[in-house]
């Protein structure tokens, strides 16, 4: 069993190297620059690569997850120019020159601290797969509406699916974080 697995890995690694060298010669590649979490970045990519794959494979931002790949689950949510989007539906060419914030942007900030704490206290996270997307949707909501009602929270999070928790806990976590931040996000 183990051997099969390592063989598989070796093949995978080989094809990755192959892909990389093939990529260098690829005439369809373009250079795209954008701001990622406050820093200018440049990548050589195919124009129709999904932003999701560029963030993960080219830029090592693994906080953005792939769930469904079809806009249904919200695991891949980030903010582009302060708007919430599903990166599985965005071709990278369309983000040239724009400002992207991923879950990693929140590191060390007080909104993540408040949201993280609230998700832990309210048991809003179990396996954690949906959590980065949930947090991005919550940040987007709190930036536009510092004191959301329960209904507004549900509407704002409706595109983010969770298989583990009941949504009640997530809604409570966002409510708690909103109170804690008290509008300071704006």
């Amino acid at each position: 069993m183990k051997k099969v697995k390592s063989d598989k890995l070796a093949t995978k690694a080989k094809s990755a190297t192959k892909a990389k060298s093939a990529k260098k010669k690829d005439s369809n590649l373009v250079s795209i620059n954008f701001s990622l979490n406050g820093k200018q970045v440049g990548v050589r990519v195919h124009p129709m690569d999904r932003l999701l794959d560029v963030l993960r494979d080219e830029l090592g931002h693994f906080g953005t997850k792939e769930g469904c790949g079809e806009g249904e689950c919200g695991a891949c949510s980030v903010l582009i120019d302060d708007e919430l989007v599903n990166t599985c539906l965005v071709p990278v060419l369309q983000v040239s020159g724009r400002k992207i914030r991923t879950i990693e942007a929140l590191k060390g900030g007080k909104e993540l601290a408040a949201l993280q704490n609230a998700f832990v206290v309210q048991n809003g996270t179990q396996c954690g797969f949906c959590t980065p997307g949930m947090i991005m949707a919550a940040v987007h909501l709190l930036e536009t509406n510092a004191q959301p009602s329960e209904e507004q929270i549900r509407e704002a999070m409706a595109g983010n699916l969770c298989r583990c928790t009941g949504y009640v806990k997530i809604v409570k976590a966002v409510q708690m974080a909103a109170e804690e931040i008290g509008g300071g996000l704006l």
Binding site: K23, D26, N28, H46, P47, M48, D49, R50, D53, G69, E70, G71, G74, S77, E83, L84, V85, N86, C88, L89, V90, P91, L93, Q94, A137, H140, E155, A156, A158, G159, N160
Partner: protein, 290 residues
């Protein structure tokens, strides 16, 4: 990744003229690409076999909502969020406001565009019935020039439209009205079932003393394309609303419906659901008068 992005091309001109030029020269090869919320899903599912995409996102003049005395004019790449946030639309065209709020969740609303919803030509889409209920017109542009067509004439059959192969949708305009209208928009049917089975009716009606003076209806998922049922509108005109007239109208509606829905096993069921919805709409009009 299930679609091979390395084999796909995307071009994103800044000038509309350049978009039209490319689209005219290679009309068979370029696929228009707005927010991608339909196309990226199709590509992911392996249902889209196009390789060259013409992105509209850099063409400034295609996005934005302009209000003047006569019309509210919406650029084709305006997003659902743009529509939801527009106060004139919320006040004067609540069916369209509602449609935009129904569409997907926040992350779809921030990317999905009105032009994409129309261009995708799904009979189950949410904005078309609303646009029909307001007698909207759409502007088609090509290197040959621009023209306005009535939106109700735009969809000609299942996923077919009256746009020529070199024409793109540039704007949608809705005539503003001074008189007071009653607005109605409702979706019914099993949630999560096939999207197509979700029936919806949008309507705008002007009433005077319980008499229907003006009416415009738009149905989704009733026919292979979004539908403006002109004969049913005509049946409604001049009717004095009452419990009896509503009963008669419902019967007539069901008779008229038979030929326009396709004859499948679900046709009967759908006709009944549609008649129920139609009756609910008439009753809501009556209650507006009381």
């Amino acid at each position: 990744m299930t679609f091979h992005s390395s084999e796909l091309q995307m071009n994103a001109p800044v000038a509309l003229a350049e978009v039209l030029e490319l689209y005219a020269q290679k009309a068979s090869k370029w696929k228009l690409f707005a927010g991608g919320t339909d196309l990226m899903v199709e590509l992911h599912a392996g249902h889209c076999h196009q390789h060259q995409f013409l992105s509209l996102h850099r063409v400034r003049e295609l996005r934005g909502i302009h209000v003047d005395e006569q019309f509210v004019t919406i650029g084709a790449t305006s997003t659902y969020r743009d529509i939801v946030n527009n106060e004139v639309i919320a006040n004067e065209f609540p069916n369209l406001h509602q449609a935009a709020r129904w569409t997907g969740a926040v992350a779809i609303q921030s990317r999905g565009t009105l032009g994409g919803n129309i261009g995708n030509a799904s009979p189950a889409a949410d904005s078309p019935p609303a646009l029909i209920s307001y007698n909207s017109e759409i502007e088609l542009a090509s290197v040959r020039g621009r023209r306005w067509v009535r939106y109700s004439d735009f969809h000609t059959g299942y996923k077919t439209t009256c746009a020529a192969s070199d024409e793109i949708i540039t704007r949608v305009r809705i005539p503003r009205r001074k008189e007071k209208f009653v607005h109605f928009y409702k979706k019914v049917g099993p949630r999560k079932a096939l999207a197509i089975s979700k029936l919806s009716l949008a309507a705008a009606v002007r009433l005077e003393n319980k008499v229907v003076c003006e009416v415009s209806l738009g149905f989704a998922s009733l026919a292979p394309t979004v539908l403006k049922p002109v004969s049913i509108e005509n049946d409604l005109l001049g009717v004095h609303l009452s419990v009896d007239s509503i009963k008669q109208l419902r019967e007539k509606f069901q008779q008229t419906l038979r030929p326009i829905t396709d004859v499948r096993s679900t046709a009967e069921y759908r006709a009944t659901v549609a008649a129920n919805l139609f009756e609910e709409f008439l009753k809501s009009l009556l209650s507006c008068c009381e």
